[in-house]
């Protein structure tokens, strides 16, 4: 009895199934006292639905037949091959890129019109004193570089 308790205690603390199975095979399977703590085959069977209790299953085959016919029809129908999906996706991406390239609004990404207007500076001060200013605008560009210099 002590041995049984010891084995059951070990079974509960061993986390590995292999270790638990070792205890099962070495002791529990062959020990009448331990077997008493397990449901017998008869007890287990009494809880389960037996084949005789299943009832009428005549309706099962017609349902399976209908499903089979549907599945076969699906298989025969148009099915895109695996590579077809990849090609389709790539085509879609290409169409989107070309569409964006063709129809992308022209003003987006370009300097606004305001920047393109003539640039004026009334005065410029450096260290709170009037300073000399040099403006440089490269040809055909909206970029304006301002260079300010103290009056010495």
């Amino acid at each position: 009895m002590f041995r049984c308790r010891m084995v059951n205690f070990l079974f509960s603390i061993i986390p590995l199934k292999i270790g638990q199975d070792f205890l099962l095979r070495k002791h529990i399977q062959n020990c009448p006292s331990c077997q008493e703590n397990l449901a017998s085959l008869g007890e287990t069977k009494s809880l389960l639905i037996q084949e005789a209790e299943v009832g009428n299953l005549e309706g099962l085959w017609p349902k399976i037949k209908v499903r089979l016919t549907e599945e076969k029809r699906k298989e025969k129908g148009f099915r895109l091959p695996r590579w077809g999906l990849a090609v389709g996706a790539a085509g879609l991406v290409a169409v989107v890129i070309i569409g964006l390239w063709l129809f992308w609004p022209a003003h987006i990404g370009k300097p606004s019109e305001e920047l393109g207007r003539p640039f004026k500076i009334k005065y410029i001060r450096v260290h709170d004193k009037p300073a000399r200013a040099f403006l440089l605008q490269p040809k055909d560009s909206n970029m304006i570089i301002i260079w300010a210099e103290e009056n010495i």
């Binding site: 292999i18 199975d21 007890e43 389960l48 099962l60 399976i64 037949k65 089979l68």
Partner: protein, 182 residues
């Protein structure tokens, strides 16, 4: 017609052969699915799905192996999938489900007390424990065969079976005590 001839005929596309296969296995399949899932509607769905999968995957079956084991693997996987889906679906409505099952058990206790008691005891096991227990009790499978069906080692199968049998014994003893006290 033996099993291999039947499988060969099914592979040749003979509908009558497949019907015979369904007739041979439908009762066993239904009993197993019912015991795992706990209700007839789901069990019927699982059986239908299993036979459809068998039909379309029969070419993958190794004729040297056991058809029964292969069939039960598909069926038990289908049942476990259904239980997983059901669990996910009902997780939001856990409280509602508990109330429903309480009501259902009260209703069924008036009609068939022993059946609901058996179902309650079985529902106390994990789905895998139920599969293992059914294969052991109904089909007489050993740990090795159970391991082949549920795709685990024989050690794991034996441990699962041991735990299931122990849980059942404890519950049966508790029920006896409560019945004798009541």
């Amino acid at each position: 017609m033996n099993e291999k001839q039947l499988i060969s005929s099914c592979l040749e596309g003979e509908a009558e052969a497949f019907k015979e296969m369904v007739d041979r296995y439908k009762t066993k399949a239904m009993a197993l699915a019912f015991n795992i899932l706990g209700n007839r509607e789901d069990a019927e769905d699982a059986c239908q799905e299993t036979f459809i999968r068998v039909y379309f995957n029969l070419n993958k079956f190794d004729l040297q192996g056991s058809f029964r084991n292969w069939f039960y693997t598909i069926l038990s996987n289908r049942c476990l999938d259904l239980l997983r889906k059901r669990r996910r679906f009902f997780s939001f409505f856990k409280k509602m489900k508990e109330e429903y099952s309480n009501r259902a058990s009260v209703q069924s206790s008036s009609s068939s007390e022993s059946q609901s008691l058996a179902q309650n005891i079985l529902q106390g096991l994990s789905p895998k424990e139920r599969v293992v227990l059914c294969l052991w009790a109904s089909e007489g499978y050993s740990g090795v065969e159970i391991g082949q069906v549920i795709k685990c080692s024989s050690s794991t199968a034996r441990v699962l079976l041991f735990k299931a049998r122990k849980k059942i014994k404890n519950k049966l003893e508790k029920e006896n005590v409560s019945l004798s006290n009541g």
